[in-house]
Every structure is written in structure tokens, then in C-alpha cells.
């Protein structure tokens, strides 16, 4: 399973949201997409998911144009964890996780034994099995984040795309979520994650994709791409990098 973006650009009114993006994602890698606010990260994710039709270029999954895949077929290949996590109703946790199986025809009201076992497994992996009968609106932010991870994992999709999965979480929960995503990645499964915390990205990601002004300006391992100059160029900060530890000293 390979996801490829070839020369994709997205325009909104007069501005380029993303421009000339070339990208290839393979299973086995945890890739962090980093860049300042407004660089085009979310637009890139949504285009890869097929939710936005690019103005030029094409996104393919194993050679198939994602725009031509039915939503269900696409959802079986890519699980998506968007930024908004609010639930419309005070649903029960295990039902929310069961929604992750939507693309396989499952509904929370009617689970077959294999779905049930799978949902049980992902709830254990995300350490939320003790919450399974709780209402989602009674959970803390960290617990809710794990519930959303579990429902995303429940799809067992070859690709996981997550938009700021650790935003608004305390350091302990940030680490827990990153470890969960790291564990999800296997030789058969890959993940693309938008992160704002460069330390987390450097620590957990196998590969960093740097975005600035709608373009990818660097793509490679943290060792190769994480430099003081790049931090200054992309984030406009003065940083002090010591192996995988980044101390941000000042804004430029």
C-alpha cells in the first residue's frame, strides 16, 4: 500500500493553500508534518484524504486516484483523526469507538463478534476499557483524546492521518498518545501526524516533513532535517538543538 501525491496544488480565492506538493507515504513509518500556523498542513491532509479536490495534480492510493474511490473504500484504507473532537451527543464510549468500524458496515447498535473483539482490543490498547460504558461528555480531555485514538485505530486501516492529536493535552497525555500512534505503526501500517511540538516530533517520528508557505521545503529523518537554520527559516525562532532535544530560546 503506497500513498502518493503528485504535484498537487490547492487554491482558495487568490491564495495558494498548498503548492506543487510531491509526497510518498509508505507503511512502517511514523511521519510528522510540521510547520507554522497557516502553512497548509491541514489542507494537505484533507487533500490526501480526498476530502478536497486538488486544482492540479493527483493523490493516489496504490495507483488509484483517491477522488475516484468511494468514501467507504477510501475510509477502509485511511483512518482520519481530525482536529475537532467535540461530540454532538453524550454518547457512550464503546459506541464512539465502534463508529471507527463504520466503513465495514458496522453500526454501534449491531456489532458482530469479530468487531466486538476488535473494539475490546483497541480499548485495552488505549487504556480506556474501564471507561467503556461512560458517557463521552463526562471524560477528561486526556481520556477523550484516547477514545478518539481508539476509534481511529478500530478501522485497522493501512494509513492513519491525524491532525494535531496532542493539541491541548498535558505533557503526560501527549506522550501517551504519541506512544499509542507509534505502536499503531507496523510494517503494514503507517501514520502521518501534524505536530506543533518539535520535541515530540523529533522524539517519535521516523520522518519529518517541513512545510512553509504552502510548500514542502524539507523531507527526511529528524537527524538530517532538524537544524538551527531550518528552525529559524520555518518557525522564525532561535533554537538550540542537542541531538533530539530542542530548546527554543526566542522568537525571531
Amino acid at each position: 500500500m503506497i500513498m502518493q501525491a503528485r504535484n498537487i496544488s490547492v487554491l482558495a480565492d487568490d491564495s495558494q493553500l498548498i503548492k506543487d506538493i510531491e509526497l510518498e507515504l509508505k507503511p512502517g513509518e511514523l511521519t510528522a508534518l510540521i510547520g507554522p500556523n497557516g502553512a497548509g498542513k491541514t489542507t494537505l491532509l484533507r487533500t490526501l484524504l480526498g476530502l478536497i479536490q486538488p486544482d492540479t495534480g493527483q493523490v493516489t492510493l496504490n495507483g488509484m486516484d483517491v477522488q475516484k474511490l468511494s468514501p467507504i473504500k477510501r475510509a477502509r484504507q485511511i483512518a482520519y483523526l481530525p482536529q475537532t473532537r467535540l461530540l454532538a451527543w453524550p454518547n457512550i464510549v464503546s459506541d464512539v469507538v465502534a463508529l471507527g468500524r463504520f466503513a465495514f458496515g458496522t453500526s454501534p447498535a449491531k456489532l458482530n463478534p469479530s468487531d466486538k473483539a476488535l473494539i475490546e482490543d483497541v480499548m485495552i490498547a488505549c487504556d480506556i476499557q474501564h471507561l467503556s460504558e461512560r458517557r463521552a461528555n463526562s471524560l477528561s480531555g486526556g481520556e477523550l483524546a484516547r477514545v478518539h485514538c481508539a476509534r481511529t485505530f478500530a478501522a485497522q486501516a493501512p494509513f492513519l492521518i491525524a491532525d494535531e492529536p496532542v493539541a491541548a493535552l498535558d505533557p503526560r497525555h501527549q506522550i501517551r498518545i504519541m506512544k499509542l500512534i507509534k505502536n499503531y505503526v507496523s510494517p503494514a501500517r503507517g501514520a502521518l501526524v501534524v505536530l506543533h511540538d518539535i520535541n515530540l516530533a523529533a522524539q517519535y517520528a521516523d520522518r519529518l516533513i517541513w512545510m512553509k508557505n504552502a510548500r514542502i521545503i524539507a523531507d527526511g529523518s529528524p537527524q538530517d532535517t532538524l537544524t538551527n537554520e531550518r528552525m529559524a527559516d520555518v518557525f522564525k525562532v532561535k533554537a538550540c538543538i542537542n541531538k533530539a532535544h530542542i530548546l527554543i530560546e526566542d522568537a525571531l
Binding site: P82, Q83, L86, A88, W89, D95, F102, P108
Partner: protein
């Protein structure tokens, strides 16, 4: 618990319809009712049962069921417990367009005309709401648009009343706007119930998408929901069911809010699982309310729509206040 919910509601619905046949200005015994239903009783009893009480009870049930399932589905689509055909102006537009047809005397030319125009009016308003819902995430804006649609339909209706050529037309139109299931025949039902069934079926077949929408539109698209077609189907289903209901009974408000609100805790707040029980409960509500209307010792008979609003409007306010209490998403 949820597994027992539907059978219990179905049983209650049957009992309430039988009760509606028993009670009235001349109370009948259980034996007389069953004899009448199967054409074995005295001629007088049979007429009272099959021509008056049963059609009326069935009309109340189907109207309630249509409004209940439409309310539950619109709430799922708009992710808002205050969404309902009445509040969103859907019923008002359905009754405006039906009134228009009746007013110009077109209704007698073809019996299908009233249900079809009522459905067209309902679809028009539902489409506007659904289009607005794409543009805005604000619950308040949507409700305000509904208020605007209701006010517009109300004004146009007043204009029709204002211009009514004679007192008889006026009385007819007023009866229609107040909402009632009195004097409905089985023929009236045959014209409308198929549309209610079709609308309900469309909503039921799309219920899984409503569950997924719990997570928001972005996540639901990620799960594989085709948002565009889901919106179209819910609008179509709710428009058909509501329009047909209005063509039977005129505008009856709030039952589409109250029934799903009562049901949700029993179905784990899953919009999909709320559809059928909400329909059944709303049907039971209206059958019972209509019994109340009939046996209330008033000089002129109360209108079902008026009674529903008197009970339903405070419930609406209560649900709205609770919604903001728990920091509801505005």
C-alpha cells in the same frame, strides 16, 4: 433495555389506539369496539368505530410518528436537540402551501394535490435549512432561520385569512392552521400514509450516517459518510413525512422535539437508534393528546395542535435551557 424498548412502545401504541376507540362522547365497551372493528357489532357502533374513532386515532398516530421520526432525523443531521419540523418552519411551509391549494379551491380537482403540495412546501423549507446548515455551525443561526421561515409562512397565511372571501372559507382555513385530526376519513389517510411510510423508510435506511455525524462532519467524512447524499436523503425523508403529516392534520408543533428528547437516554444517545422509538412515542403522544381533546368537557372541541403547543412549547424552553446549561455548542 433498548431491545425491549420497541416492543413495549408498539404494544403501548396498540393499546392507546384501542383506548381511543373506547373513549368519547358515548363510551363504548371493549366488546363493542372489537365487534365494530370486525363488522360484527350494531350498525351505529360500527360507524362510530370505523368511520370516526379509528380513522381519527390512526391519523393522530401516523402524524405523530411522521413528526417524531423527522424530528429525530433532523436532530441527528443538524446535531442539535432543538431541531424539529415545527421549530424550523418546515410544518409552517407545508401548511402554507396546502392552504393555498385549498384556498383556491384546487383541492377538489385532484385528491392528491393537498398532500403533494404540502410535501413540496416541506421540502422547500427543509432544503433551505439544510443549505444554511452547510454554511453555519451555529445552532442559534439555524433556529433563527427557522423562526424566519415560520414567520414568513405565518404572514402569508394571515394574508390568505385576511383575503378570505367568506366566513366559511375563513373557518376552514383557521381549522387547518390550528392543527387537528377531527373528521379524518380512512380515505384521507390512504392519500398521506404512503408518503409518511416512504419518508420514514428513507430516514431509516440512512440512519448509520446520522450515528457517524455524532463525531462532526469532518470526522464523519473520514469514516466514509457521503455527506452530500446523506443531507439530500434526510431532507427528502423528513420533507416527505412532515409534508404528508401536515396534509392530514395541519401544523402540529413540538412533538418532534419532545419524543426524541425522552427517547435518547434509552438508546445511548445514538441518533440512529432513536429514530423508530421516537416515531412510536410521538405517535402515542398524539393519540393520547387527541383522546384528551375529545373527552375534555369544553363547549367547543379543543384543537390538537393547540394542546400540543401548550404542552410542547414549555418543554422546548426547558430543553433549550438545559442545552445551554451543559455548555451546549452554540
Amino acid at each position: 433495555m433498548p431491545s425491549a424498548l420497541n416492543p413495549v412502545l408498539v404494544l403501548t401504541a396498540f393499546l392507546s389506539i384501542i383506548l381511543a376507540c373506547l373513549l368519547g362522547s358515548t363510551p363504548l365497551g371493549l366488546g363493542q369496539v372489537f365487534a365494530g372493528l370486525f363488522g360484527q357489532g350494531s350498525e351505529g357502533d360500527t360507524i362510530v368505530i370505523t368511520q370516526i374513532r379509528l380513522p381519527r386515532a390512526l391519523a393522530a398516530f401516523f402524524v405523530g410518528a411522521a413528526l417524531g421520526i423527522s424530528g429525530a432525523a433532523l436532530q441527528g443531521l443538524l446535531r442539535n436537540p432543538l431541531a424539529e419540523p415545527g421549530v424550523l418552519g418546515v410544518s409552517a411551509f407545508a401548511s402554507l402551501s396546502a392552504t393555498f391549494v385549498i384556498y383556491y379551491g384546487l383541492a377538489t380537482s385532484n385528491p392528491w394535490l393537498v398532500p403533494l403540495t404540502a410535501i413540496a412546501g416541506a421540502l422547500f423549507a427543509t432544503t433551505i435549512i439544510a443549505l444554511a446548515a452547510i454554511k453555519t455551525r451555529s445552532v442559534v443561526t439555524l433556529i433563527l432561520i427557522g423562526v424566519g421561515l415560520s414567520s414568513f409562512a405565518g404572514a402569508a397565511m394571515s394574508l390568505l385569512l385576511n383575503l378570505a372571501p367568506n366566513p366559511f372559507t375563513l373557518a376552514d382555513l383557521i381549522n387547518w392552521t390550528l392543527g387537528s385530526v377531527a373528521n379524518r376519513s380512512l380515505d384521507d389517510l390512504t392519500l398521506a400514509v404512503p408518503f409518511i411510510g416512504l419518508g420514514g423508510l428513507i430516514l431509516y435506511l440512512n440512519r448509520r450516517g446520522l450515528s457517524a455525524l455524532t463525531l462532526g462532519e469532518e470526522a464523519a467524512s473520514g469514516l466514509g459518510v457521503n455527506l452530500k447524499s446523506l443531507r439530500i436523503y434526510i431532507v427528502l425523508g423528513a420533507g416527505l413525512a412532515t409534508g404528508a403529516a401536515v396534509s392530514i392534520a395541519g401544523a402540529i408543533g413540538f412533538v418532534g422535539i419532545v419524543a426524541p428528547h425522552v427517547i435518547r437516554p434509552f438508546v445511548r444517545h445514538d441518533p440512529a437508534r432513536a429514530l423508530i422509538p421516537s416515531a412510536l412515542l410521538a405517535g402515542i403522544f398524539l393519540v393520547l393528546a387527541d383522546i384528551g381533546v375529545r373527552i375534555a368537557p369544553t363547549q367547543t372541541e379543543l384543537k390538537l395542535g393547540v394542546v400540543a403547543a401548550i404542552i410542547g412549547a414549555p418543554a422546548f424552553i426547558f430543553i433549550a435551557m438545559k442545552q445551554y446549561d451543559r455548555g451546549g455548542h452554540v
